[in-house]
Symmetry: D2
Subunit: 402 residues, 4 copies
């Protein structure tokens, strides 16, 4: 039988920056019997889902739902809009930006990877001015897309997307704007239409509080136009047939029905609470967690306060401390999962997720586990982060308490 | 639709001394389809359950399983063994002892309620010497039963049952020994056979980590003999027909099938971990929680260290502080349920449950919520309980970590 | 791990007259986390439940909800209203009437058991005229209650309760009217207030489509008045404290929380569909099943068409055929559970439940299994029952189809 | 709230040829909390899954598990092994073969579509001799792959894959053999290694009894070798990184955790029953269903008895009867979903799925619904199919009954 936790008792604390803890309501919804994906109930469900999901993206344009995990939606965005050898301008904000660039290469595109020198870019957001400069030089408009990560899950930085849009416009450049907000959606403010994004990429296992297995492309007219001339081979990811079938609430091939049940429940929960409240909730948690990191006397990975992530916080280890050894100790002793440092930050930091089905005490527990684990690992802490966060949460009421 | 939490996000922290947090494995088991309670699968399940449950009571004698919550099993124990007007010796350890006495009265028995004077008895365990003294005086053996609460859920005191047995034996008295361990079973050490208990009463919603709805009577030969002559009217609770039907794994009337699924899963979990490990786990948590209370400079309700409960800890409020107001604030701000002061202790203390599906960080979260709530309520704390407990848990490994 | 079906594949067909098949919605609702039974969410849930359940009983008077299975609610009705040695008039309609009489005896009452001679009463309903005659003779009003079974689960007879009320009134007799509709509620028409019932007894595992574990007493002013003078010892079942606590949506002792989640969902489902529609649905199924029995050339257990049960149908075996052997074969070969003949009808008949979460094809499957099993057992059938029922269902639209 | 069935009561009968009815054990497993996809429990689960799934494919070679539905695995098989403009030989057995051909075109391959003339190929299996003839003519070995559908879900034909392998070998041709057994796996006999298949494509929502959302590629050395030189752009579907990560039980990107829980449970269920028993079970059901169709006097879509599908049966309507109207009536009246005629067979036939979590009575119910619906639609039936099937099932014991 499935053994999901090696600890003998208690619920695991899943404080990685996604998959996030899934609410019981959603898990129950997902366990209802699978139905006919071509029957009338399914069509009704499909139409409802496709309408409600737009609210979350703040768009009136189509949102494609893929029965595939988030990496697939990256591929879909590129394959639908680009042609072999197309130049795409990407910006190195961390590990996921790097992986997306690697994917662009594998797909036969020519990514150009802007970024701050050395490790600096992994502690900052997208620099819109660098994008503007580069686009101004591209007088022949050989760059077909600007691809940026909104919330960089590997570092805890939430870049300023409107600034990127302004940079493109200021340069008078026709490149499409493709934005990955896999971990930003429904945690951080995100506005597909108002920000002029052409393709927004997202996934289910973060702010939507679902298990992984669903991913999204929100589109624009320009993106759809580009999809009609792009020459990359596409079938599973192709928008055209999906948009056609979606008109009646169906999909051209078998959708992953039970995860869609979960999506429906998740959308209801988010809309019941109100999207602005959801975002305020994550912001408040993020301040609490950073308050703890500061109290410990440790550095937050993100060095630009304007772009601190409301979704996760990277905690930098002092020189000589192996972040992965700290994480392992915390996992073994306290049944708490934290995110590892990825790529260039491997072993240098760990990441605390503060998203999804959490509350103040979940985070106090997580910070307690971190604090104890850091001390057991011999890290010198300036003060108690858990107490600092507790004080912050005490003094700053959440929105639902009068 | 069912709204189970008035808070917008996150899992509720259920740290009352029962119902305890139910593990997901058990909730899933309970949600399987109901089967025919007279069919072959049911008989197989029944026989398996009746065998495994004995291990938890540490008995080789029959254990009756009722499709009713714990209060019913109190009634069953009295109704099966006593006759109208029988004298029963009870001991006031707290609210539940008081309720049991009230029940005895309602059932037409003549309870005699021993106890320490005033409020003292609510902060101590059963005084076996008082029982011995009383029994020695009962030379006519008009007292038919000694009824004590093992783990007094209202105060956090776990009385010494072997001492009570010795007291009865020392007095050479034939009274039956009836013990309520509704909240003690599978948390605190309990030995039905070795301790010479005649009827052990227990319930599902505490150490067994089930929802409420199942309760138990573990029997002895003397108890069964008494049931044959007792004259209290009995039908639903009568042992005779249940024992007969149990031989084949069935019940004389419809059992509550889906809770039995959960019981089966619970028994498997406890036996997989090992009962001694389960008990050690609760003991360790209890020390951690008392360490926190001490750090706050507050008093533990129980004033006899020998009988501190491993299941829950009563936290006494300073003069002038309304414990219920503190509890309400903690609930509203931190989505944490604590047990209220009951009966004589109403408003004077609250109770932290540390049982069931918990782990160290669950308790750190709970203590964090208490600490913040106490401060927000204006209670002067000597120091940080949450840090003291964190230090205790850090320095004292749980059994499953090498 | 729990093995709930000895067959290798497919869902078991649970066509016994209760526990009935539980809808997935209810099973999912029951698997949500247990909450504090003294917290604010619980109070809100309690008030909602207590209000909605009255609609099902068609009463404006209090309905008591017990955390115990149905047999307990029988005991509760007697214990709350009767005193030791009270005479109660009962009517033998079948096995459950007999069991209730046995309970009355065990509780120290003096049941008088009316009935048709021999086996005749097991194939007919309550004979109101016999009750009237008996009550007229009881000029001293020593009879304190008339106890009848509305839907006799052992035979498939749904007695005429208004006729019993009229009989009591015609006799000018003050006896209370106690009615067991454990298996009738939410299947057959039932009107607690309009029919002048004093205590209605019901349970969760039949028309309410829940697992067993909850039972009910619906009260009247006369019943409540009687409970104040009755002298049977009572505590767990006592109405007074429950009524008091219910005012705020709570219970005096721990209710079985997760089954109450299920009850809430069940009430929503029934009220969404509409109680009249629910009853019409069961009536239509019953006609279909009896059509099949007639086509087989077998007898229906109930011999009075006026009181055919909409909940279950008893199928009488020809002489020399062991109904239990037929049932066993059907179970083993077709993964279908049928109700056995109980008491006087043991081995003579089996019972097909047509209640709860069923539809036409569930019953076609069940009738198919019966037909095949009867033939494999060597029973000579006149024609095909499954085809007759299919024809009936085809020609008679269910209410939800226009 | 999610409304999964427009009918008021009872469980929907999902007798389409996939998604198949999902057993409760699997739905419950899927609803357990999501865990860290980079943590130790996940690695252990991953290794276990990757080992057990090989048993189902009867292979010792790697099986790739995609977090995407089945159509994705088609794309993966082509993209990993082929290069732009490669010729692939496909065989028109029905709608899914046609869709796969269309995909090959969209991906820039040059499919050559063999087939019997007209509609004939939609009622027969792959003609291995036609493949052999074609390959013999391809002396330059420009054909890089032979792509066939094992179990054609649109028609109910299970082609002879060993014959195709022999045809390729007889022609001495190096083309890879790609086989779609999305709906065949774990229903029909399938032997990846013994039959010399290079890439087997499958999905979760058929014989594996899971919801849709997982798909598979089982590989061969030749397929892996081809993947190293193929030039189609690939990233999400690329085998290389997945194989590398799988060594430790992980995936290069986020897998769909909760569906993997379900997969683990499904594999346990299939292996507990025994794969040979599972296949025999489906074969027996298929004979029963075809017996019914014959009794009705209707034609089975498949006209070659050697390749009747054990998974589904296509039922051909008489001239002038709109199969979709019949299906709609059956759905509305009997809460039964049947598969529609697809592509060339649209409106001409419907499909009965007999796979997954079924038993004899499930199929009797389904055949009952079909029979009633056909009659209500005015179709003249020769006799009763439901009775014929019932007789067949009665006379032919399933393997688990002695």
């Amino acid at each position: 039988m499935l053994k999901l936790d090696f600890h003998p008792s208690g619920r695991h604390f899943l404080q990685i920056p996604g998959p996030s803890p899934v609410p019981d309501r959603i898990l129950r919804a997902m366990s209802l019997p699978t139905i006919d994906h071509r029957g009338p109930e399914f069509g009704a469900l499909g139409l409802e889902l496709l309408a409600k999901v737009k609210v979350i993206f703040k768009t009136t344009q189509p949102v494609i739902i893929y029965p595939a995990s988030g990496t697939g939606a990256w591929e879909a965005a590129l394959i639908n809009t680009m042609s072999t050898g197309d130049r795409v301008l990407m910006f190195e904000t961390g590990h996921f930006a790097t992986l997306w660039e690697k994917m662009a290469l594998r797909l036969g595109l020519e990514p150009e990877f802007l970024g701050l020198p050395g490790y600096e870019g992994w502690r900052a957001g997208v620099q819109a001015n660098m994008i503007e400069d580069r686009l101004r030089k591209d007088t022949g408009h050989t760059i077909k897309a600007v691809c940026v990560v909104h919330n960089e899950t590997s570092t805890g930085v939430t870049s300023n997307i409107p600034a990127v849009r302004r940079a493109i416009d200021a340069a008078g450049h026709p490149a499409l704007l493709l934005v990955d907000t896999i971990s930003g959606l429904a945690c951080a403010d995100y506005q597909h239409d108002a920000w002029g994004v052409d393709v927004t990429i997202s996934g289910s296992q973060k702010g939507l509080m679902l298990p992984p297995g669903i991913s999204f492309n929100a589109l624009s007219d320009n993106a759809i136009a580009a999809s009609k001339t792009s020459n990359l081979p596409k079938s599973f990811w192709a928008w055209d047939e999906i948009l056609e079938a979606n008109k009646n609430g169906y999909w051209p091939y078998t959708p992953n029905t039970n995860l869609l049940y979960g999506l429906n429940e998740a959308l209801d929960m988010l809309l019941e609470e109100g999207l602005e409240q959801v975002i305020a909730r994550h912001q408040r948690w993020a301040v609490g967690v950073r308050t703890a990191v500061e109290a410990w006397g440790l550095e937050v990975q993100c060095q630009e306060p304007d772009v601190y992530s409301p979704v996760l916080t990277g905690v930098v280890m002092p020189e000589g401390v192996d972040a992965d050894a700290v994480r392992r100790l915390i996992y073994e002793r306290f049944d708490l999962s934290l995110g590892m440092g990825l790529g260039k930050s491997k072993g240098k930091m760990f990441r605390i997720g503060h998203l999804g089905d959490c509350n103040d005490l979940t985070l106090i527990a997580a910070l307690g586990g971190c604090e104890a684990g850091l001390k057991l690992s011999g890290v010198n802490l300036k003060g108690s982060g858990v107490l600092a966060a507790l004080e912050y949460f005490s003094q700053n009421r959440p929105h639902h308490v009068n």
